[in-house]
Amino acid sequence: MSMGLPLGAALAACGTSGPTRPGATSTGGGGGGTTATYWYLSTQPQEGVRTRTMERFNKANPNGRLVGTTFQNDAFKTKIKTAIGAGQAPTLIWGWGGGGLRSYVQAGQVEDLTSWFDQNPAVKDRLFPSSFGAATIDGKIYAMPCETMQPIVLYYDKRAFEKIKAEPPQSWGDIMALVPKFNAAGIAPFSLGGQSRWTNMMWLEFLFDRIGGPEVFQAVFDAEKDAWSNPIALDALTKAQDLIKADGFIKGFSSITADSNADQALLYTGKAAMMLHGGWTYGSMSTDGGDFVSGGNLGYMNFPPVEGGKGDPSNTVGNPGQYLSISAKATPEQKEIAKKFFATELMSDESVKDWVGTGAVPIVKGADAAFGSAKDAEFLKFVYGIAVNAKTFAQSWDQALSPTAAEVLLDNISKLFQLSISPQQFATNMNAVIGK
C-alpha cells in the first residue's frame, strides 16, 4: 500500500496514453482537451455497442473526449476494486449497482447524482423506474442506470417436450411431475452450471419470491435478525433440495461452469430439456446453437407459480440494468464530460437501436418501438413484457448484498446444492452474516 502509491504516481507521470491520474490537473494533452476515462467489459456483442456509443460521443465532443479501456468480466471485478481502493479509479465506474455500489459509496468514492437527476428530469424519466432501485443507496442516486435489463428466464427445448408429449410447466407441481418423465426418456430435466454458484442462486431467488413474495429476501436485505429462518425461506430451500434429490438437474452439474457456456450447450444439444438462466444467454444460444434458436426450438417463459405461494407470478429477478457511476476523485472537467455523456449519448436512440440489435432490451421506456425490425423481436417483446408487467424486478442477491455477505451466500448455496448442508444449517450460516 505505502509503496504502491508513489509507484503509481510515477507511472502515471511518465505515461502519456496511460490512465489519467484522477485529481491531477489534466488540461494538457496536445490540444485534445480534457479526457475522461471509461472502463468497460470486453464481452461481445456488448463491447461493440459500448465502443460505438463512446465513439459517437467523442465525435460530437472533440474537446471533452472519453478514453475507453476494456476488461474481461472477472478481471474487471478485481481490477476496478483495486483501482478504486488505490485512488486510481477511472472517471466512469461501470458496475451492477447494489451491494458493490454501496461499498463504493461507503468509501466515499463515487459522486452523488441525486441533484443532477433532479435538474435533468428528462434523462431520468426516459428510463424504467425499476432500474433505479439498485442505483439508490440510502435514498440517494449514485449511478446512472444504463444498457439493458436482463431478467432470469425459464428456457425450454420444444423438441424435448414433443418427445415426451408434455406441456411446459405451469406450476412447481408440474415441474416436479416432469422430472421423472424426462429422466425416463433419457433427457435431463434441467441444465445447470453448478460450479459457478450464482447459477444455483437463481433457483432460490425464484422459489423465495413465488412462495413468499419479495418481502422474504427484502428482510435479509434490510438486515432483520434471523431473516433466513423464516419458515417460507426454509420451505423454499427444502423445495430446491427436493428437486436435486429427485435428479431434477443434469448429472454432474457441480462440474459444469456457466463461463464456458456448457450449461447452454446442454440445452441446445438436446441433453437437457429446460434451463433457468439470464436473458443474456438468448444471444449466445442463437450464435452457438446452430439452428436451435432460428429453427424455433427454443421456448421461454417466466418462472411458474408455486402452489399456495403468495408471490405474484409476474415478478422477476435478474439485472434491472447496468450502472455507471462517476468517480469522486475525478477532476471537475472530467465529471462534466461524464455527465454530458449520461445526458446525451449513453442511452440515445442510436445506442438503444444498437442494443436491440444484440437481442437485448434497453432499459428505456418505449424501447419496444425499436423491436419491429429486429430478428429476435418475439423474444425482445417477451422480455420487455416481463419488465413492464413485473410488480417487482428484484436484483440478483449476490449483486444486492455486500460483497462480504454475497461470498458467504454463494458458498452456502453451493453446499446446499451439494446436499452437504440442510436448509436449517443454511439458514443458521446465513443469519450469521446478516447486515455485514
Partner: protein, 301 residues
C-alpha cells in the same frame, strides 16, 4: 582497487567488498519480501474492505479467523494436498529419476517428453483438464468411456483426487529431474563393489541408490511441501475451491476472503498463518535432514 600494502587491511578490505556483493540481493529481498510481509502483518490488525480507509481493529480479524470453522477445514485440506501429493510424487519421481539417469539414448528422448508438462502454465493445464473432464462434453463422453465419464469436479473426493493428479502430472517431471541428477552423482564404484558381492538390481536400489539420495529426497520434499502451500492458480481455475469447500486450500481461502468478500484484515491474517506454516515446515525438514542439507555423503565412498 589500490594495491594491497599489508596483509591485515587487505583481508578486511576483501571481506568488506564481499559483503557489499550481498546488497542487491538483500535490497530485493527487503523490498519484495520483508516489507510486504510487514505490511500484511500490519493489515491483519486492521479492518479494510480494499476501498475505503484502513481502520485499526486490534485483534478483531484474528479472533474472527481463529473462531471460523473454515480455517481448520482449509488447514486440513492444505495438509491433505501436501501429504497426498508428496506421497504420490516422491516414489514416482524417484523411480522416474533413476530410470532417466541411465545413459541410453531412448531414455534421453523420453526425458525430453516427460519434461513437457512443466513448460505449461498452471492456468492452461487447469483449463485443459477442466475441459477434458467435463461430464457432458469431455473426454469420457467423447470416447464413450463410462469409466472416464464421472462427475470429476462435482464430488468432493473425486475433485480432490483430480487436483492431486493434475499437480502430480505437472510436477513429477521436475522432481524426476532432480533425482536424475542425484542418481548420476552416486559413484559407480559403489555399484561395482555391490555387484562383486552379488547384489541384484532391487538390492542395489534399496541399499545404495536410496540411501545415497537422502539429501536429494530432502531437497525435493522441501520443494514439494512448501510449494504445495502456494497452489492457487491451478485449484482456482480447476475447481474454484469446490465443490462446496472440498478443495479450498489456505491460499484460496485467503484470496476469497480478501478479493471476493472484501475482508482484507482476515485475509491478511491467513497470509500470516501461511507464512508461519511454510517457515515451520521448511525448518522441520531441515531438522530432519541434519544441519547441513548440502553436506555430502561421498567422503565414505
Amino acid at each position: 582497487m589500490s594495491a594491497p600494502a599489508t596483509s591485515v587491511p587487505r583481508g578486511s578490505a576483501r571481506r568488506g567488498s564481499l559483503a557489499w556483493l550481498a546488497v542487491p540481493a538483500l535490497l530485493l529481498f527487503v523490498c519484495f519480501g520483508v516489507i510486504p510481509l510487514a505490511g500484511v502483518l500490519l493489515l491483519s490488525f486492521t479492518s479494510w474492505d480494499g476501498l475505503g480507509d484502513i481502520h485499526f481493529a486490534g485483534l478483531e480479524s484474528w479472533q474472527a479467523i481463529l473462531a471460523d470453522p473454515g480455517l481448520p477445514h482449509a488447514l486440513w485440506v492444505t495438509f491433505l494436498v501436501m501429504a497426498v501429493s508428496w506421497a504420490v510424487q516422491t516414489p514416482a519421481s524417484i523411480l522416474m529419476g533413476v530410470f532417466l539417469a541411465g545413459s541410453q539414448r531412448y531414455r534421453a528422448v523420453l526425458a525430453v517428453l516427460y519434461f513437457v508438462p512443466l513448460l505449461l502454465s498452471h492456468a492452461a493445464v487447469a483449463i485443459t483438464y477442466k475441459a477434458l473432464l467435463d461430464p457432458n462434453f469431455g473426454l469420457g463422453p467423447g470416447l464413450n468411456l463410462a469409466l472416464l465419464t464421472q462427475d470429476w469436479l462435482g464430488r468432493p473426493w473425486l475433485a480432490f483426487g483430480v487436483v492431486i493428479f493434475v499437480v502430480s502430472w505437472q510436477f513429477i517431471p521436475f522432481h524426476a529431474l532432480i533425482y536424475q541428477g542425484g542418481v548420476r552423482q552416486i559413484p559407480r564404484s559403489m555399484y561395482e563393489a555391490a555387484e562383486l558381492d552379488g547384489a541384484g538390481r532391487v538390492r542395489k536400489f534399496f541399499s545404495i541408490t536410496l540411501p545415497q539420495l537422502k539429501y536429494t529426497i530432502i531437497t525435493s520434499s522441501t520443494l514439494m511441501v512448501v510449494g504445495s502451500l502456494t497452489f492457487f492458480d491451478l485449484i482456482f481455475v480447476l475447481t474454484a475451491g469446490g465443490p462446496g469447500d472440498a478443495t479450498r486450500v489456505l491460499a484460496l481461502d485467503m484470496y476469497k476472503r480478501g478479493f471476493q468478500a472484501n475482508l482484507m484484515g482476515p485475509a491478511s491474517a491467513i497470509a500470516v498463518i501461511l507464512v508461519l506454516v511454510g517457515l515451520a515446515l521448511a525448518l522441520l525438514l531441515r531438522r530432519v535432514g541434519g544441519r547441513d542439507a548440502s553436506h555430502s555423503q561421498l567422503e565414505g565412498a
